[in-house]
């Protein structure tokens, strides 16, 4: 983005404060344009003919430094690229790294379909939704266009996920494209030998294309400049993923260089970057070592600027950390992360089980939950809505009060007198000062838990069940 203050964007807006975008003023809308939480097209008046020039100018100013490339069609289409910063705290990273997993055209049919479905189905629940994989990369191992086309067809029959068509042979790619031409697949790849034919295919079928130039950034840039000149900027850059040793360090350096040049304004190289951690499998013998190393390589390039990756391991122990590290890096640091307020059962609580409260700050909540679950403490745990603040800050700031705790418990339809035998609540140690208030509000007995939920097991031994007064 070429501008960084709402005032600079405001100059181009109609300044009528019409409110059609949902904001009260054009200035407020301008602020959302700068933090990229709203799109310029949400301003209806500026789309009118008389503002055409201003619209175009502002759109150019607002365009992200790294081009955005869309792959696939429909609900599961992915966008990659679109970043404006080198460090997530400076804004946020946009468009999560798209994770593609491979199938190949020499696989037996039943294994092939099973693998596609596994990629399609994999999911892991996390903070209210599911983490999932994104794409299927079809590798041509047979060197046979017909076999490849057939494999592509089988993928399409079994999933709506976007595709990456992988071959250096233009005839193979063309065969795949014929089958997948309505699916906006990503071509992989043009290199210094086949670039003319692959460029023709990319332009003819109007699909995004990967440029592959292992450890040669001059040639990579040449390819990008040439393709742009020939008429397509739907490009993805693959500087080669060397999986080990000093070569891997070079790969790391190449990723840093490409993204830094792009963010700093070299438009010729400002495209999404692809990593292929799958190459880890070319140096490791057993499944566990290969899965581990692939995940390690993939994590590095999830953190440092990989926008799309092709991988192989579908082992749960590899997919989980990969999905989580991506979520970690792409979580918007400007928003406090919070969990759904309400009651959660830990284990299998009954009427004798304790009632604990904490806040809905995700980190706090999950820490407490994990401490309780790992110690096998059956209990009811309330996440009280504190606008996503931790206990200490919420008590100090008034987001965690006796009234809020009472309301939180009541909103869940829970009655301390009827649903428990003990009519008591365990407060976090850091909220001890709410004890008197909460006793008055609820009429229940209020126990003070430890300051750190890690000490709950020891605390429980000493204090539970509560001794009669």
């Amino acid at each position: 983005m070429k501008i960084n203050s709402p005032l600079e964007a405001y100059k181009y807006l109609p300044a009528t404060n019409c409110g059609e975008c949902g904001e009260q003023t054009c200035m407020a809308f301008a602020a959302h344009l700068i933090d990229r939480s709203k799109k310029l097209t949400e301003c209806k008046p500026i789309l009118e003919e008389k503002f055409a020039k201003k619209f175009k100018e502002l759109q150019t100013l607002l365009a992200p430094e790294i081009r955005e490339v869309e792959i696939g069609v429909g609900e599961r289409a992915v966008k990659i690229g679109g970043d404006d910063v080198l460090y997530r705290h400076r804004l946020t990273f946009f468009n999560q790294t798209a994770l593609a997993y491979d199938v190949w055209d020499t696989m037996p049919e039943n294994e092939f379909v099973e693998r596609v479905k596994k990629i399609d189905d994999f999911k892991k629940f996390y903070v209210g939704s599911f983490l999932t994989l994104n794409m299927v990369a079809v590798r041509c191992v047979s060197k046979d266009p017909k076999k490849f086309a057939n494999a592509v067809k089988k993928v399409i029959e079994n999933t709506d996920m976007p595709l990456i068509l992988c071959s250096f042979d233009p005839a193979v790619l063309k065969a795949g494209l014929e089958v997948a031409k309505d699916k906006n697949p990503l071509l992989y790849a043009a290199n210094k030998d086949n670039w003319q034919q692959v460029a023709d295919l990319a332009i003819e079928y109007n699909v995004p294309v990967t440029l592959f130039s292992p450890d040669d950034l001059d040639t990579l840039k040449s390819l990008a400049v040439t393709f742009a000149k020939m008429g397509t900027e739907k490009l993805v850059l693959d500087p080669g993923t060397f999986p080990t040793g000093k070569d891997l360090k070079k790969t790391f350096t190449n990723f840093l260089k490409i993204r830094r040049a792009g963010i700093e304004g070299d438009k010729d190289i400002a495209y999404p970057i692809m990593a292929v951690p799958l190459t880890a499998w070319m140096t490791q013998d057993d499944v566990v070592s290969a899965s581990y190393w692939e995940t390690v390589v993939a994590s590095i390039f999830t953190i440092k600027y990989g926008d799309v990756m092709i991988m192989h391991s579908l082992e749960g122990y590899a997919l989980l950390p990969q999905l989580h590290i991506r979520d970690t890096i792409y979580t918007d640091p400007r928003k406090p992360v919070s969990v759904q307020p309400g009651m959660n059962k830990i284990g299998t609580p009954d009427k004798d089980s304790p009632v604990l409260v904490t806040t809905n700050f995700a980190l706090t909540y999950y820490t407490v939950e994990s401490d309780l679950a790992s110690s096998k403490i059956n209990c009811y745990l309330w996440a009280i809505d504190t606008d996503g603040l931790g206990v200490e800050a919420a008590v100090a700031g008034g987001q965690l009060t006796a009234a809020k705790i009472k309301k939180g418990i009541e909103d869940s339809g829970f009655d301390l007198k009827k649903d428990t035998t003990h009519n008591s609540i365990v407060l976090p140690g850091l909220a001890a000062r709410l004890q008197g208030d909460l006793e008055d509000e609820t009429g229940a007995r209020i126990l003070i838990g430890p300051a750190d939920s890690g000490r709950l097991p020891g605390w429980m031994e000493k204090n539970w069940p509560p001794k009669p007064k």
């Binding site: 460090y87 491979d102 994999f122 892991k124 629940f125 590798r139 191992v141 060197k143 992989y188 210094k192 670039w195 003319q196 332009i203 001059d218 840039k221 040449s222 400049v225 040439t226 742009a228 000149k229 008429g231 080669g240 060397f242 999986p243 080990t244 040793g245 000093k246 891997l248 790391f252 350096t253 260089k257 040049a261 010729d268 799958l278 499998w281 070319m282 140096t283 290969a290 581990y292 995940t295 390690v296 994590s299 590095i300 440092k304 749960g316 997919l319 989980l320 950390p321 989580h324 979520d327 970690t328 980190l363 999950y366 820490t367 994990s370 679950a373 790992s374 750190d452 000490r455 020891g458």
Partner: protein, 439 residues
């Protein structure tokens, strides 16, 4: 007077003139542009540039005008090259790749090196360690090409002064030594290649065993006898008891230049700082995911407690992958960037309690508690990689020292951090046709 200018130099000239775009321009080879005294462009040259230059003639014309040359006159003399007629075709057929040179500049505002801190003292320095560990000294983000990274990452492995609850995958490695901290320490150095050992005096917590500070100090002595690597001494985390425990431990380890863990804002950090200064140790300055608190504590340690700059390491808190690692990562990255850009209150090496990764249920649970989840995979593989990825992320944010627990995690973190550091040779592999690889 005749100036000779290589055409390749023109690109940079254009840049200085603030030209919006020179898409697709390549001027390569040995062609030279002669700019004679009056400033004229040889028509023969325009011809030589031919097709390639015509599509950017608008830009060229602008440059020409800026240079004071009557461009339009030239164009009017050249049939079919009228400026007004130039359009960008949607598709252009190319015979050759356009030449391009990739360039990127180093970061200019990383001007402040990170403080070097040495842990452990050999007999030459009044200690009994066989080796020392030096952290810090960076002039760039870790592993970046902008500046050589002076020291690799180091790993200190956890040892506890009593049996504690651990994930099964971790515990199985320590069952034979769980009641003997000295043997435990020996094992992590001998069998698991630990660079250092951390002895956690957790039994001193009044809510656990309330072991006396004096007895705890004896354990420290035992560990110092058992191994000859530098050590870290950790308290129980009880803010009332820790100052006393760490004082006694610091005295017992006097001269060994241990890392005392830790000083924090919610306990009497002055006592811990004094114990470190009096006995020649390093202080771990521990805060909870808050860069300003980290600045405050570091400032207090330096100004109020007179801890020398070479005796402070920071622990800005490690949250596990999936449980706040986003905060921990960005907090560390911000701290390191601030240090490199000149904030003297943050230019210290960093340490991570990477073991915290084992708190994540994904690391230790047999399987997902949620029926909707896909298979999580075997937990004996899930746990170590949870610790690995947590540590790896923080290594990229600038962390120098890792406190870890599982031998496999230690091995892999060493492998990858030393790979990025640049000290590991590559295995030969031809990735140019990875597509057809048998995997």
């Amino acid at each position: 007077m005749t100036k000779k200018t290589k055409l390749t130099d023109i690109a940079s000239l254009f840049k200085d003139l603030n030209i919006e775009s020179l898409d697709g321009v390549t001027i390569e080879g040995d062609i030279e542009l002669n700019i004679t005294g009056g400033g004229g462009l040889n028509p023969a040259l325009a011809y030589a540039l031919g097709q390639e230059i015509s599509h950017i003639s608008l830009h060229m014309a602008n440059i020409g005008r800026i240079l004071g040359y009557p461009v339009d006159q030239l164009f009017s003399q050249a049939p079919g090259m009228g400026v007004a007629g130039v359009t960008t075709p949607t598709k252009t057929t190319m015979q050759e790749l356009l030449a391009a040179k990739f360039e990127v500049s180093p970061i200019k505002n990383w001007t402040n090196p990170i403080q070097e801190v040495t842990l452990g003292a050999t007999s030459a320095d009044g200690g009994s360690r066989k080796s020392t560990v030096t952290l810090g000294g960076e002039n760039a983000l870790p592993y970046y090409f902008d500046a050589e990274m002076p020291h690799r990452n180091y790993i200190t492995m956890d040892v506890f002064d009593m049996p504690i609850g651990m994930a099964k995958a971790v515990k199985s490695n320590y069952e034979d030594v769980i009641n003997d901290p000295a043997e435990w320490a020996k094992k992590v150095v001998r069998d698991f290649n630990a660079d250092m050992v951390t002895i956690h005096l957790i039994s001193t917590d009044p809510l656990i065993k309330d072991t006396s500070a004096r007895d705890a100090a004896k354990v420290v002595e035992d560990v110092l006898q058992a191994v000859d690597v530098p050590i870290v001494i950790g308290g129980s985390g009880n803010p009332q008891k820790d100052p006393e425990v760490l004082e006694k431990a610091a005295e017992a380890a006097s001269g060994e230049r241990v890392l005392l863990a830790s000083a924090s804002l919610n306990l009497d950090y002055e006592r811990i700082a004094k114990a470190a200064v009096d006995n020649g140790h390093v202080v771990l300055s521990w805060t909870q995911l808050e860069i300003n608190a980290q600045k405050e504590l570091n400032r207090k340690l330096m100004k109020q407690c007179n801890v020398p700059r070479d005796s402070i390491i920071m622990d800005p808190t490690t949250a596990a992958l999936g449980y706040g690692l986003d905060y921990a990562y960005t907090n560390m990255e911000r701290i390191r960037l601030a240090g490199l850009m000149g904030d003297d209150e943050l230019t210290f090496p960093m340490s991570s309690g990477t073991t915290n990764a084992w708190g994540a249920r994904e690391a230790w649970m047999v399987s997902s508690p949620l029926p909707q989840d896909s298979e999580w995979g075997a937990r004996e593989y899930r746990g170590p990689i949870w610790e690995i990825i947590t540590g790896l992320a923080l290594s990229l944010a600038g962390n120098d020292l890792f406190m870890m627990m599982h031998p496999t995690s230690v091995q892999v973190i060493k492998e990858i951090t030393q790979t990025l550091y640049g000290s590991i040779e590559s295995k030969t592999v031809d990735i140019s046709n990875w597509i057809g690889a048998e995997v």
